[in-house]
């Protein structure tokens, strides 16, 4: 209507890109010669960019599906545990001589199953999403821990079994433009979800379900199926994240996904998705994930690691508060 409205609307849509650009510019301009992680003293050094991207592959692959789920007004707190369990399963399969493709496919199937269990509890059993996924958080974590033998901390070479040579190439060695396959999969998944959200039916149904569930139901959308499908989608992306992480670390760590649910919520909120549902964009969450990863990795080189929890917590509060205020204002106008 008015000019100021157009300006705030523009800012709301694009401020996240500005934040990323400013952050990267700051990190790049800082004199980092004394910090060993940045080789040649520059944040934008190629090896550093590649490293950040391959460490970020798990959150980059999760954030898209997680955004759609939150847009539909639901949440999945079990995503970290599902990622850990997938990482353990994938490593076990590889260690026991299953070749790359079958191991990959089976792990993704595990992700489908884990997501379907969440969907079943929420849609069929009608348990509140927070509680249902807290139950599965505990369940998946317990199974992942049980799969790893007592006395060892992770699935890795040893006891006559050896990790195959291909195991860490998916998450580490350059496949195209020196970036590993895990990063390309994350980019492909995100692009697919952007298209689905913009053009596909699922994206519109998700927004309708989150915006007004009753209206969505009355206009013939099978909201239960939409939500179930989105939980399965998050399960698949958690499995892909687990594969990326376990390949990057060359082992199946049952704790590797701990805290991923918090990171996912953080980047999605940072991207401006409303916690109450109905609004949000996949690409903005992707940028949000890049911001958080640049911030944490950039920070690691300047301040001690033990400040990270505090900074992430503060960022979560800030992101939640600002986007809540912004979306509330928009709603009132």
């Amino acid at each position: 209507m008015t000019k100021s409205f157009a300006v705030t609307g523009f800012l709301k849509d694009y401020y996240i890109y500005l934040v990323l650009i400013v952050l990267v510019a700051l990190l790049a301009s800082a004199n980092l010669d004394q910090f060993p992680l940045f080789e040649r003293g520059n944040f934008l050094y190629k090896r550093n960019i590649i490293n950040i991207l391959r460490v970020s592959a798990p959150i980059l692959v999760i954030c898209g599906a997680f955004t759609l789920l939150m847009v539909s007004g639901y949440i999945d707190l079990s995503v970290g545990s599902a990622m850990s369990l997938s990482a353990v399963v994938y490593a076990m399969l590889a260690l026991n001589g299953v070749p790359f493709l079958p191991a990959f496919a089976l792990t993704v199937l595990v992700g489908v199953l884990l997501g379907a269990i969440n969907g079943f509890l929420v849609v069929r059993m009608r348990i509140t999403p927070v509680i249902a996924t807290l139950i599965t958080l505990s369940l998946y974590k317990g199974i992942a821990l049980l799969l790893v033998e007592d006395g060892t901390s992770a699935i890795k070479s040893g006891g006559g079994l050896k990790m195959p040579g291909w195991f860490n190439s998916y998450g580490r060695s350059g496949a195209l433009l020196d970036l590993p396959a895990s990063v390309w999969v994350a980019i492909a998944v995100t692009l697919a979800l952007i298209v689905i959200q913009k053009r596909g039916v699922l994206g519109k149904y998700a927004a309708a379900t989150g915006g007004n569930p009753t209206a969505a139901k009355l206009s013939g959308i099978k909201t239960g199926r939409v939500v179930f499908g989105l939980y399965v989608l998050v399960g698949i992306s958690a499995a892909l994240a687990g594969i990326a992480r376990s390949s990057f670390m060359s082992l199946g760590d049952p704790l590797s996904g701990d805290g991923m649910e918090l990171t996912a919520i953080l980047v999605v909120l940072l991207g401006g998705t409303a916690f109450s549902g109905g609004e949000g964009k996949v690409q903005r969450s992707f940028i949000g994930a890049l911001i958080i990863m640049c911030l944490t990795i950039g920070m690691l080189t300047i301040v001690p690691a033990y400040t990270q929890t505090l900074v992430i917590g503060a960022a979560l509060l800030l992101a939640a508060a600002t986007n809540h205020l912004v979306s509330r204002k928009g709603g009132r106008k």
Binding site: I127, V130, I131, G142, L145, F275, S276, P304, L310, A320
Partner: protein, 340 residues
Amino acid sequence: MTTLAVSPITARKHRRLSDQGFITVMVAVVAVLLFLLASVLVPNFFQLQNMINLVTNNWAVISLGVGVTFLLVSGNFDLSVGGNVALAGVLSVWLAQSTGGANTLSTGLGFPLPLALAGAMAGALAIGALNAFFVVRLGVPSIIVTLGTMMVARGLAQVITHGSQRNTNLPDGFGTLGNLTLFGTVKLPVVLMGMLLLVAVFIERRMLIGRVTYWVGANPVAATLSGIDRGRHVTRLYLFSAAIAGMVGILLASEFKSGFSNRGMLMEFDALVIALLGGVAIAGGFGSVIGMFFGAIILAVVTSAATGLVLSPDWQFILKAVAVFLAITAQTWALARRNR
């Protein structure tokens, strides 16, 4: 004579157990049945000392459960209590440590003990105030806010302890509170937990502030329309929960004579689990402190029986998941049947 013959019937008619009382009784019965089952299955389970241990070993989580239960009844989460336990403990140690230690982690601010404890409580209450500010003033969903403050509180504890712990250069009296025993063998923290439970039940049943908690949770709009200052009430509950977390943090730090930044890890999760097992509904307006207490007994019986059966400790995550799932479905089913 006649009145005696008639009164039980009329009493039954007019004083049908409320849904909430029904669920509490159900939870208590399940707790007792599980205990008997465990006694049959697990060797040496049926012993007086073991029964006492089921309660005394869990004083911290049960104490935290009181604040968490009140908040859940009012329709709000508090996941910050575990982090707050770490923060309060670390603060009490840091403030009390004498100045001029050999290195950073053995050098504190050298406050006198009472002042150090007061400072630790102030830190815990500040986290509670932060919760209230974001939830009440800004209207951000409580689960997001308290996940954030959980990390902020633990993050502050990690910054103060450099990610590890402070346990040197402490004044002599620092370990007294947490290791004091009363009435022979009962530890002070356990006595405090008992007193807290009694006070909480009294507040919940008999005081206006306790009843208001239910109204706010059951129907926020109606509560506001009938003149209840909802924001003020929820603020009080967050401060109450934070005060309990502060107390637990100080007692634990005193018991171990150390401020450890990982202390209280997952306690917020356990406090939520025992409240859910005890029939507290996260939708608000339903649940009780007594139910939460029996929920804690159920969890304690299940986990200690699992340990007694020599299951690997990793089983506890699966057991908790199954217990919460069964509790929620059983309670929903029983209430639906009862009110058909």
